[in-house]
């Protein structure tokens, strides 16, 4: 439990560094450190599937961020923009905290009771699907519609990026 809190504090520090540092490359690396901390936290909470996925997605995200954005000139923001953005952020943070404080009252405490929903998957999963990795059984059997939707989201994201970038790329040839 201590390790989770240490990792959480490190992730919060990394996020603050990513926002505050002036150099864009350092900022991207700080974001990568936050993702690595999240992956380690998932590993400590005994979720190796989530940890693997988080780690590899973080790696490819950092590579794309470094390659695609670091050399670009970012438009500077004026003081009026900054005050407006700060006001909007404060309003949203207050609203989120107020809603979350009410919503979290309904949640059970962290880690207790031990798996009320997942118990059914654990007892019936092997007989119902034949898969020994229950995460795969849930993703591709019990909740395959979710996976179909996620696949559709990624498909449309890739097509959208290609549709925006490809025409420009072809014209250069």
């Amino acid at each position: 439990m201590i390790a989770i809190y240490v990792l959480l504090i490190l992730m919060i520090i990394g996020a603050i560094v990513a926002i505050e540092v002036k150099d864009l490359l350092s900022s991207v690396i700080a974001v990568g450190a936050v993702g690595l901390g999240l992956s380690l936290a998932c590993l400590i909470l005994k979720a190796p599937d989530v940890a693997i996925t988080q780690l590899v997605v973080e790696i490819i995200a950092v590579i794309i961020l470094i390659r695609a954005t670091v050399r670009k000139d970012l438009p500077g923001s004026t003081a009026a923009h900054r005050i407006m953005a700060g006001l909007v952020a404060v309003v949203f943070i207050v609203a989120f905290v107020a809603i979350a404080a009410n919503a979290f009252k309904a949640l059970p405490p962290f880690g207790k009771p031990w798996m009320t929903v997942a118990q059914e998957y654990l007892t019936d999963g092997l007989n119902a699907t034949g898969a020994t990795n229950y995460v795969a059984a849930i993703l591709l059997d019990f909740r395959a519609y979710d996976t179909l939707g996620e696949a559709t989201v990624l498909f449309s994201a890739a097509i959208g990026v290609l549709a925006v970038a490809r025409r420009v790329g072809r014209r250069e040839e």
């Binding site: 190796p48 599937d49 693997i52 996925t53 590899v56 997605v57 790696i59 490819i60 590579i63 794309i64 390659r67 695609a68 050399r71 092997l126 119902a128 699907t129 034949g130 898969a131 020994t132 990795n133 995460v135 795969a136 059984a137 993703l139 591709l140 059997d141 395959a144 519609y145 996976t147 179909l148 996620e150 696949a151 559709t152 990624l154 498909f155 994201a157 890739a158 990026v161 290609l162 925006v164 970038a165 490809r166 420009v168 790329g169 014209r171 250069e172």
Partner: protein
Amino acid sequence: MSREHDHGMSVVVKTVTRLTVGLILLYGIYIVLHGHVTPGGGFAGGVIIALSFVHLVLGFGKETAFKKLDENATGFFEGFGALLFLALALAGLSSGGHFFLNLFKEQGEPFKLVSAGIIAPCNIAISLKVSAGLFSIFIALTVLRPESENK
């Protein structure tokens, strides 16, 4: 991608890339094929497969990487993976059951590679789609340069 990196990085990077890129690809395929037995699965394995091609682009430049897997092949694999996943879902429907019915789940035994019915083929379909999709996003955002930067 910056101009000085169009033909890859230094000899040290190229040598290490030549040694490691195959291992990364094999590890991704292992994660995909054992997705229903051990942690991992189609999404994580697909990202690792995409990372092996990203590694090739970063180390050797885009020409060498496109010889292995060019843009059109990427688009083909993305569409093929999505259609394969949908076909596996429709196979349950056409055999008299419901959408995403787990066919052949009685075949094979648990903890073996051949088990879990259509979960393993679904993992393969998702890995094809995810790896091709992420690699195409990578090359679209980094290799294909906007026109304004050429001048």
